[in-house]
C-alpha cells in the first residue's frame, strides 16, 4: 500500500512538472533571471531593473559574473541547454560563437522586433547573425539572418587626450607627434594598453584598421602579415611604445585609467565605461574637465576606425520565458527608460540621447560616441574562432611589445598559427 502511495506521489510530481511552462510560452513569470557582467556595464541595468518590477510585478534577478567567468558560464549553460537564465548579457565578439551554436532565440521572427530609426543600423547589425555585411563564416553562409541580440551598452572604442595641454589629433601621425612633444618625467605621451591577449588586441585593432591593415580579408584569408598590418604593428610596438609608460606589456585598462586619472598620461584609446567610472569621476580623478573625447584619429588609409564593443541582451534558446524576456528588452531600450538608464550612468545607443545637449553637458563623451557610431565602427571579425584568434594575436603582439620577438617574427608567428587554426575550423 505504501509503495502504491509513493508511486502515486511520483506520478503526480511528474504530471505537475510536465504542466509547467514550455519554452517560449507566453505566460507571465514571477521573475526573470539575467546573467550579467559585473562592473560598470551592468550598473545602470541594476539601477533601472526595480522599476520594471514596479510596473509589471515581474521581479528581475540579476546574477553577476566577472567578464571571463560570464563567458565560461554562458558557454557551459548553452552547451547544457539549461534554462537557468531568461536573459543574458553578451559582449559583441561573443555573438558569432553563440550565433553559430544557435544558442539564442531569434528576436525578430519570434517576438516581432523591428529596427528603430533612432538607433544606428550598425548597432542592430552587430546583434544579427549571420552578419549582414562583411565576411561570413562558411557554416553560416546561406542561412537566414536573424536579430539575436539587442544592444544595451552602446560601447564604441574612442580616443581621449588632455585638452588642457594640446589640440585634438586628427591623424595617428599627430598622435605620435603629440606624444613625443608632451612626454616628460612621470608624464607619458601615450598610454599603451598592452597586456597579453584581449587587452593588447583591443588597443591595436583600431590602429590596424586605420593603417589599412586587417586580420582577415573578405574571404577569410589571413592578412595580419601584409605590409599595411606590419606597419601598424611597428607603429604600436616601436613608435608609440617609445613615448609610453613603463611596462606597457603588462598594462590593462584599469592601469591606464589610473595613470590618466592621476595626471600622468597625455592620450590613449578609451572605452566609454572607463570614462564614466574613472576619468570623469571626480571622486577618483584629478583630470575632470581636462580630458576631451574624439572618434579614432585617421591613419595612412585616410580614415579613423573605431571598434564596436557593444553589450547586448539575448534570450537563450532554453529559456521558458521568451516572451516576457523580450518584453523586458523592449521596455529597457525604449526612449523613456533609456533616459533613466542614462541618468544612472548607462551608455545608450539612441541618437536622440547621444546628441542631446543637456546630456552632453553631463556626459562629455556622448557627442564623440554619436560621431563614432555615425562613422560606422568596425566590429571584430565575425567568426566563432575569434576568441582563439585574439588569443594568438594578443600573445604575439604582447611578445613584440615586450621585445622578446621582433615585429616581423611576432606577426609571422601569429599569421601562421591563425592560418592553421582557421584551416582546421573549415575556413
Amino acid at each position: 500500500m505504501r509503495r502504491i502511495k509513493w508511486a502515486a506521489l511520483v506520478i503526480a510530481a511528474l504530471l505537475i512538472g510536465a504542466c509547467q511552462q514550455a519554452p517560449g510560452s507566453g505566460q507571465k513569470p514571477a521573475k526573470l533571471t539575467i546573467a550579467a557582467v559585473q562592473g560598470n556595464e551592468d550598473a545602470a541595468l541594476k539601477a533601472v531593473a526595480p522599476l520594471y518590477e514596479q510596473k509589471t510585478g515581474i521581479k528581475i534577478e540579476i546574477v553577476e559574473f566577472p567578464y571571463d567567468q560570464l563567458y565560461e558560464k554562458l558557454v557551459t549553460t548553452f552547451k547544457a541547454n539549461s534554462a537557468t537564465y531568461d536573459l543574458v548579457m553578451m559582449d559583441d565578439p561573443w555573438m558569432p560563437k553563440f550565433g553559430t551554436d544557435e544558442s539564442l532565440q531569434p528576436l525578430d521572427s519570434s517576438y516581432g522586433f523591428k529596427r528603430d530609426s533612432d538607433i544606428p543600423d550598425v548597432v542592430y547589425d552587430v546583434g544579427t547573425w549571420p552578419p549582414p555585411r562583411g565576411a561570413v563564416p562558411p557554416a553560416a553562409k546561406g542561412k537566414a539572418a536573424h536579430l539575436i541580440g539587442i544592444t544595451i551598452v552602446g560601447n564604441v572604442e574612442m580616443f581621449m587626450y588632455r585638452s588642457d595641454k594640446g589640440a585634438a589629433p586628427k591623424t595617428w601621425d599627430e598622435v605620435k607627434a603629440n606624444a613625443d612633444k608632451n612626454k616628460a618625467a612621470n608624464f607619458y605621451g601615450y598610454l599603451v594598453r598592452g597586456k597579453a591577449t584581449n587587452p593588447v588586441v583591443a588597443d591595436f585593432l583600431p590602429i590596424l584598421w586605420s593603417f589599412g591593415g586587417d586580420v582577415f580579408d573578405q574571404n577569410w584569408n589571413v592578412t595580419i602579415d601584409n605590409a599595411a598590418s606590419l606597419k601598424a604593428v611597428k607603429f604600436l610596438v616601436q613608435d608609440l611604445k617609445a613615448a609610453a609608460q613603463p611596462g606597457p606589456e603588462s598594462t590593462d585598462a584599469a592601469d591606464r585609467d589610473r595613470l590618466m586619472a592621476i595626471g600622468q598620461g597625455y592620450q590613449s584609446t578609451v572605452w566609454p565605461g572607463e570614462i564614466t567610472s574613472v576619468i570623469q569621476n571626480a571622486s577618483v580623478s584629478q583630470v575632470v574637465g581636462k580630458v576631451a573625447y574624439i572618434p579614432m584619429p585617421a591613419g595612412p588609409s585616410g580614415k579613423g576606425v573605431g571598434m564596436m564593443g557593444n553589450w547586448l541582451l539575448g534570450v537563450p534558446k532554453a529559456s521558458p520565458n521568451g516572451q516576457a524576456a523580450a518584453d523586458f528588452i523592449t521596455w529597457l531600450t525604449s526612449t523613456e527608460t533609456q533616459k533613466t538608464y542614462v541618468d544612472n550612468g548607462g551608455i545608450p545607443a539612441r541618437k536622440s540621447l547621444l546628441n542631446d545637449s543637456a546630456l552632453n553637458q553631463k556626459n562629455p563623451y556622448f557627442s564623440a560616441l554619436a560621431k563614432s557610431l555615425d562613422a560606422v565602427p568596425n566590429w571584430r571579425p565575425r567568426t566563432d574562432q575569434w576568441n582563439a584568434v585574439e588569443t594568438i594575436l594578443g600573445t604575439n603582439l604582447n611578445a613584440a611589445l615586450a621585445g622578446t620577438a621582433t615585429p616581423e617574427a611576432a606577426v609571422q608567428k601569429a599569421a601562421d598559427a591563425i592560418r592553421t587554426l582557421m584551416k582546421g575550423a573549415g575556413y
Binding site: 607619458y188 603588462s250 600573445t395
Partner: protein, 307 residues
C-alpha cells in the same frame, strides 16, 4: 591455569548464506551517501571527461585518440609545462624553507602563548584572502610608475630606475611566484609548527643531556618527525601549483608572450578561448594520469610512515 580464550562478539543473525548481516547492511547504508557523493563529484565528471576526450568537439562523433594526439603535438603544451616546472621550482623550495625556518624560529624562540596565537592569527590571514584579490593587490604593488615595490626600492636607493617587473621575462615569473610564496608560506608554517609540537619532549631532553647542539636536535630528531608532514606539504602544494590560475591571470595574463602561461591557464584557453573541448578534456585526462603516477612514485620513494 585457567583456559584463556579470546573474547568473540556474539554471532550476528544471518538470514541465509551469502546475505549481509543487519550490522553490515547498516554499515553499507551509512556509506551510501558518502560513496554517492564521491561518485557524483569525482568519478562521474572524470568519466564524462574521458568520454569527451574521445569525441570530436563539433558534433560529438567518436574520434578515438585524435584529441590526445593533437593535444600532445602542440608545442604550446610543452611551453606551458616548462613554465609550470619553473614556477614549481621557484615556489616549492622557497615556501618550504621559509615556512620551516619560521616554524623553527617560533617554536624555539617564542614561548608566550599569546604571541604564538598572534603568529597563528597572522598566518591565517593570507590563506583566507581570495587568490583573485591577492592578484589585484599584487598588481598594484608591482605596477610601474605608482607601484609600492618600485617606490620602496628607489626610496631606499636599492635601484635608481623602475623595474618593469611584470613586463620582462626574467622578472615576470619571479614576480608571479612571489605572490604564491606570500600566500602559501603561512600554510607551510602552520603545518610544520604543529609538527614541532608533536616531537616527543623526552627525546629532545635526552639529546640535550647528551650535549647535542640545537642544530643536531633539529637535524637528527625534529626533522625526522616532520618528514611525513613535509611530504604532505609537497603533495598539497604540488597539486595547488598545477591549479594556479587567478593571480597569474590578473598579473600577466600569461605574458610577456607565453612566459607565464602555466598549465592551468593553457588548459583554460584550450577549453574556453579555442573552444576545443575534446582536446581540453584529453589534456586534463593526461594531466590527471601523470599526477597520479608522480604521486604514487613519490609515496614509494619517500616513506610516509615513521619507522
Amino acid at each position: 591455569m585457567p583456559n584463556v580464550t579470546e573474547a568473540r562478539p556474539a554471532p550476528l543473525h544471518r538470514a541465509g548464506a551469502g546475505r549481509f548481516t543487519r550490522q553490515e547492511r547498516l554499515a553499507y547504508t551509512m556509506l551510501v551517501p558518502i560513496l554517492g557523493s564521491i561518485f557524483l563529484i569525482v568519478t562521474y565528471p572524470f568519466v564524462l571527461a574521458v568520454i569527451q576526450s574521445l569525441q570530436a568537439t563539433n558534433g560529438g562523433a567518436f574520434v578515438g585518440l585524435q584529441n590526445y594526439v593533437t593535444g600532445l603535438e602542440n608545442p604550446l603544451l610543452y611551453e606551458a609545462l616548462a613554465a609550470t616546472a619553473v614556477y614549481a621550482a621557484l615556489v616549492l623550495p622557497t615556501e618550504i624553507l621559509l615556512g620551516l625556518g619560521l616554524a623553527l624560529a617560533v617554536h624555539r624562540g617564542i614561548k608566550s602563548t599569546a604571541l604564538r596565537a598572534l603568529f597563528f592569527g597572522m598566518a591565517i590571514v593570507p590563506l583566507v584572502i581570495p587568490p583573485i584579490a591577492v592578484g589585484v593587490i599584487a598588481r598594484l604593488m608591482y605596477a610601474p610608475s605608482y607601484g609600492a615595490i618600485n617606490h620602496i626600492l628607489m626610496l631606499t636607493g636599492i635601484t635608481h630606475d623602475e623595474i618593469n617587473w611584470l613586463g620582462q621575462p626574467i622578472t615576470a615569473m619571479p614576480a608571479v611566484a612571489s605572490v604564491d610564496v606570500w600566500q602559501w608560506t603561512p600554510f607551510v608554517y602552520l603545518v610544520l609548527f604543529s609538527g614541532f609540537l608533536t616531537v616527543p619532549r623526552d627525546e629532545i631532553e635526552a639529546a640535550q643531556v647528551d650535549g647535542a647542539s640545537g642544530w643536531s636536535q633539529f637535524w637528527r630528531i625534529e626533522l625526522y618527525y616532520l618528514r611525513p608532514l613535509l611530504i604532505l606539504i609537497v603533495f598539497f602544494r604540488l597539486a595547488d601549483v598545477l591549479r594556479v590560475f587567478d593571480h597569474v591571470f590578473i598579473l600577466t595574463g600569461g605574458g610577456p608572450g607565453n612566459t607565464t602561461q602555466l598549465l592551468s591557464l593553457y588548459l583554460y584557453r584550450v577549453e574556453f578561448k579555442f573552444s576545443d573541448y575534446g582536446q581540453a578534456a584529453a589534456l586534463a585526462v593526461v594531466v590527471l594520469i601523470a599526477i597520479s603516477v608522480v604521486y604514487s612514485l613519490v609515496t614509494r620513494v619517500l616513506p610516509l610512515e615513521r619507522r
